[in-house]
């Protein structure tokens, strides 16, 4: 499968699909990297947020957030 379609989980517009394979691969790599960075930011934000939650309810909040 085209690496860009794979990382997007959907077919990009026709004009994007028509770009050179090298371009689509480079873009797919940038999307992968952005996903990784955002996931890290997300996890860090949840951990930081949990530190601000009173200890007795921290477990409940952690469960709610799926952290």
């Amino acid at each position: 499968m085209d690496p860009l379609t794979e990382v997007l989980g959907a077919e990009p517009p026709t004009t994007v699909r028509a770009l050179a394979e090298e371009t689509r691969s480079a873009l797919a790599a940038q999307v992968h990297e952005a996903r990784r960075a955002t996931a890290a930011l997300n996890a860090e934000a949840v951990e930081v947020a949990l530190r601000g939650v009173p200890l007795p309810v921290r477990g409940l909040v952690r469960k709610t957030l799926g952290a």
Binding site: T15, V16, V31, N42, G52
Partner: protein, 295 residues
């Protein structure tokens, strides 16, 4: 043209894609610049979905928590612990009424940071729930930061009162940068047609002739009537010369449509014969009759 006007992004959707990916526009594959704007917007939204796909449930859970807490506490906690990029995603899951409560509980810079990261179309209902005065305050800050692309994206979804508030925050030089990025719709047409007199006066006072020509072209000269109504013969003549120098004969003909007869007569008198020959086929019958009467 001023330095500010020169900073208008040539391809605003590329700016949005780059921001979402956390890279500079120059780091994007060069060939991406050949993709039409509408397709880049679709790609932008697909990338946004892909980046946050795994966290959707978590964003919804945070929004659920925010709904259960008292608004002051929710606002304080969000600003303290939730980075704006993630807060923007949580916003997509908020009830509009709750969002309306919360926007007054967080600082303006935080709200502006969220606005930069927000997908205004995906969060349309939340965005439209924000009171117009608050939209105006955020717009002022975004304009100070030269976030013209963000402003233009929001202009697509906000209601008329909010759009009025946002555009009232714009200086004439801000308008020069934002207007070329706008997608015209009925709401925008109405708001631009009824810009406050004070703002129109500032446009005439603060923009030089070249900049006024830039704005006329960006707006489309047919929307330039309210500004034209405030300028003198010297300015109209200067605008005419600039448009003709730029080979913008079609735009000149469209400007002629909003010129009062006396100003049109005055400006046609100074148009060189060879330029008149180019202009004549683009004029209306009535304008051609006027032109014939001058010679």
């Amino acid at each position: 043209m001023t330095a500010q006007a020169a900073s208008v992004p040539t391809h605003p959707q590329l700016v949005r894609v780059a921001r979402l990916l956390g890279v500079e526009v120059e780091q994007l594959p060069v060939e991406l610049a050949t993709v039409p704007a509408d397709d880049l917007r679709t790609l932008h939204d697909q990338i946004g979905e892909a980046i946050h796909r795994g966290a959707r449930a978590r964003f919804a859970a945070v929004a659920g928590l925010a709904a259960k807490l008292p608004a002051p506490a929710a606002g304080r906690l969000a600003q303290t612990f939730l980075p704006p990029v993630l807060a923007a995603r949580v916003c997509e899951h908020l009830e509009p009424a709750r969002a309306r409560d919360l926007v007054g509980r967080v600082s303006l810079p935080y709200l502006a940071d969220i606005a930069v990261a927000l997908d205004p179309v995906g969060s349309r209902e939340v965005v439209r729930a924000i009171p117009a005065p608050r939209v105006g305050e955020v717009a002022r800050l975004l304009l100070e930061r030269h976030e013209y692309v963000v402003m233009a994206e929001f202009a697509r979804v906000v209601d008329e009162d909010a759009l009025v508030a946002a555009l009232e925050a714009a200086s004439p030089h801000d308008l020069l940068c934002v207007v070329p990025l706008l997608e015209w719709n009925d709401t925008l047409e109405r708001v631009v047609a009824h810009l406050p007199a004070e703002q129109l006066d500032r446009i005439v006072a603060e923009l030089d002739h070249e900049e006024l020509a830039d704005l006329a072209l960006a707006l489309d000269p047919v929307r330039f009537g309210p500004v034209i109504a405030r300028v003198d013969e010297v300015t109209v003549t200067a605008l005419t010369r600039i448009l003709l120098d730029r080979r913008e004969h079609a735009a000149m003909a469209r400007l002629a449509a909003v010129l009062p007869v006396e100003l049109l007569s005055a400006t046609l008198r100074v148009v060189p014969p060879d330029e008149l020959d180019r202009l004549r086929p683009l004029l209306t019958d009535a304008q051609r009759e006027l032109l014939a009467g001058l010679s």
